[in-house]
Symmetry: C2
């Protein structure tokens, strides 16, 4: 894996999740001086803070995710010096334990990913994913 | 209103919403070179990009919000040079048009607010709010 560019780091985050590989996921997230301020919001979840709590949530999620695949759309990266913000839509194909790999969900999540550059590598500092519900804004 | 500090700018964002004042809300959001990259995710909505689209969404929301009040908890501000990130939980008391001010919702939203400093003022550049559902992460 490479975290040399923001795009690579963002791709590695999703690749680690698709591979259901907690070690790779751990390597994506910021550490050292940033460990304490790492933040993560899974869709529908409250805010989690701190590298320990965030990685425990990934262990829990991965333990309940036999299969997940992402197609990212509307990806946009904004550079802010040693920080970068990626916004994108996650189009998700997944299965859960109950369905014996009958696919249970094809959801859509909108995401803000903030990265910080440390030691020449871009590491994930904040992940905020939220469910896109059925066009509640269009009702007028 | 003052946007001299990040905390003031964040407070003004919620004050503008509580006042249901679109002019104040417009003044909070970044403009000029940042207008095109402004981003906003309302809870359950897809990502909106660009100052025009974002402010139209606020006009729509405000037209359907006779009353809303926020109590912010777990507020945390991270400074990154000319950018700043505020994460917080919005505890919301609201009413909608159908209820004749019988309060219909006391919801919880977790939020990432990114600000950028321009001309000595902190302006909102990205707002990402997501609904906190009922502890879906705890089921194991």
């Amino acid at each position: 894996m490479s975290l040399v560019t923001v795009d690579e780091a963002n791709a590695e985050f999703y690749a680690a999740f698709e591979a259901v590989d907690l070690d790779r996921m751990s390597a994506v997230w910021a550490d050292g001086p940033y460990a304490e301020s790492v933040s993560c919001v899974h869709p529908g979840w409250p805010l989690l803070r701190g590298r320990g709590e965030v990685l425990r949530s990934w262990a829990l999620i991965m333990a309940n995710t036999p299969f997940i695949q992402f197609v990212l759309t509307d990806v946009r990266t904004e550079m802010c010096g040693e920080h970068a913000v990626v916004t994108c839509s996650e189009n998700i194909l997944t299965a859960d334990d109950d369905t014996d790999l009958g696919f249970s969900a094809g959801g859509s999540v909108v995401t803000t990913n903030m990265f910080v550059r440390a030691d020449g590598q871009w590491r994930l500092w904040l992940h905020h994913g939220s469910p896109v519900l059925n066009r509640i804004g269009d009702e007028e």
